[in-house]
């Protein structure tokens, strides 16, 4: 327990101390929120979709959690070649606990970043349907954070060097974001896109957030929770296995 706690605490301390990075990583969600939110707002309203800001805010929160979680997984790669990871790998602590500590830390950090963005969306004009909605929103934020922190560990312990990073970014992380329905409704899409969005775990995360925050659902909350929980379990098992195979 001690080891899990101290590794979790480490992630938190690193996050709180990297103020410049926190602010920098707010740039992208802010850009989407303000430019797309206000830019596409009129079209969305004309098409009968209501307020685009309301629709998109849960998606942007989901996106923030996705990026933050996956990145901390990729930091594992950096830590692994040169740094701190070796210190933990030679310690008399089972690999699984090291991985759990790091993953919990990464998820917590992603939740905190997601909360910051949620506050920003509230300032920008996003209004959840009720106050009860917000705690329920945190449940989905946590689920999204765990799923993608798990994915981050799988990526971080599978890549050999930083060159693979661009590949992962362009062919995995960005598609996960764009196909998640964060920016557009999942109804009446072309067949191929319907299949792709259905395969994207973030779709269920964003849908869950949207259901509890503004009461608009595509898959339904039960399906969302079931899918996210099973994907999280699968990715964490895969991550634990990949992580246990790291040789320095």
């Amino acid at each position: 327990m001690k080891a899990i706690y101290i590794l979790w605490l480490r992630e938190l301390k690193r996050y709180v101390r990297s103020r410049a990075q926190i602010i920098a990583s707010l740039g992208q969600p802010l850009l989407y929120l303000l430019v797309l939110g206000f830019g596409l707002g009129p079209v969305f309203r004309k098409a009968g979709g209501g307020s685009y800001m309301q629709f998109m805010a849960p998606g942007i929160i989901g996106m923030t959690i996705l990026f933050t979680s996956v990145f901390s997984g990729i930091a594992l790669l950096w830590d692994r070649q040169f740094g701190f990871l070796k210190e933990t790998l030679v310690a008399p602590v089972p690999r699984l606990r090291i991985m759990i500590g790091r993953t919990l830390g990464a998820s917590t950090v992603a939740m905190m970043q997601g909360t910051l963005v949620m506050v920003i969306t509230l300032i920008a004009g996003f209004r959840p349907s009720s106050l009860v909605a917000i705690p329920l929103g945190f449940v989905f934020m946590a689920l999204i954070a765990i799923v993608f922190a798990g994915l981050g560990v799988v990526i971080g312990s599978s890549l050999k060097d930083m060159q693979g990073f661009q590949l992962v970014m362009n062919f995995l992380v960005l598609p996960i974001f764009f196909l998640s329905g964060a920016l557009f409704p999942l109804e009446n899409l072309p067949r191929a896109l319907t299949v792709a969005t259905g395969l994207d775990p973030l779709s269920y995360g964003v849908d869950g957030l949207r259901s509890v925050l503004i009461g608009v659902a595509h898959f339904g909350v039960a399906v969302d929770v079931a899918v996210l929980a099973s994907v999280a379990t699968a990715l964490l098992c895969l991550g634990a296995w990949r992580f246990s195979r790291i040789e320095a």
Partner: protein, 261 residues
């Protein structure tokens, strides 16, 4: 304390460590010398459970680190060739983290941290972030950290690489004094012959994955009929340059250095 018998490590067609055998006694300072790519780091990685040997047997304090990983890990400390501190944490926090990973009880952990930080002249800087430390201070902190859980064996993989003569001198003085006061067995690798001659009780010269000579500085000089350890080393390993092919780790090391100012 350390026993290595017919140890082999192959990476594909390449044999990094080719059938080496040696023993290190309790409380001894043992140096591993060899040109780049001779197999020094690979040997250390196998001894410290980071790599599995292809064949041969290892023993640390009577335990096989390939099988009894957990028990073996409690018995050694290691300072890697690449820094393994958390740069975003303070010196104190790095020590705390290490102590908690090794399950050192709180009271003992605090006491030893204080003693060691004082010994390595870092006590005043205990609340400074490691990223603001000089190369020498980081090295000292890593070595202090390696001693925190009172290991029986301390591995030092090129601990003085890139340090100025003052820092190197001080560092070895401190390691020597801990070797004597806590009777820790020290296994080190270095490129600086005069350091090995100064601190090590015995030296093994390794080249192309094989041990070519083993003995005290005096014995190595006598064996080769040379005046200094450096000449003995060159007589044993030849004067040709070793060009390692750059691996992805080397490329990342370069990037890492650029980033680190």
């Amino acid at each position: 304390m350390i026993r290595v018998h017919n140890l082999v490590k192959r990476f594909g067609d390449f044999t990094a460590v080719n059938d080496i055998s040696f023993e290190v006694n309790k409380g001894e300072i043992f140096a591993f010398l060899g040109p780049n790519g001779a197999g020094k780091t690979t040997t250390i990685k196998m001894l410290t459970t980071l790599l599995r040997p292809t064949s041969g047997t290892l023993e640390l304090d009577g335990l096989n680190p390939a099988i009894k990983k957990h028990e073996a890990r409690q018995r050694f400390g290691i300072v890697f060739q690449d820094p393994s501190l958390d740069q975003e944490l303070t010196a104190w926090e790095n020590m705390e983290l290490h102590g908690m990973l090794y399950d050192v009880p709180r009271k003992l952990r605090r006491e030893r941290t204080e003693t060691l930080l004082k010994l390595f002249e870092l006590w005043e800087k205990r609340d400074g972030l490691v990223k603001t430390f000089s190369g020498g201070m980081k090295r000292r902190l890593e070595i202090a950290r390696g001693f925190l859980h009172t290991p029986k064996i301390l591995f030092l993989d090129e601990p003085t690489l890139g340090l100025d003569p003052q820092s190197r001198n001080q560092l070895w003085t401190q390691v020597k004094s801990l070797n004597e006061s806590e009777s820790v067995t020290v296994f080190l690798t270095t490129h600086y012959m005069e350091e090995a001659a100064r601190v090590a009780h015995r030296i093994a010269v390794i080249d192309h994955g094989r041990i070519v000579a083993i003995g005290s500085t005096q014995e190595l000089k006598e064996q080769t009929g040379t005046e200094s350890l450096e000449d003995a080393f060159l007589a044993l390993t030849g004067a040709s340059l070793r060009d390692e092919t750059a691996t992805s780790a080397d490329q990342m090391r370069q990037v890492a250095q650029m980033w680190r100012r």
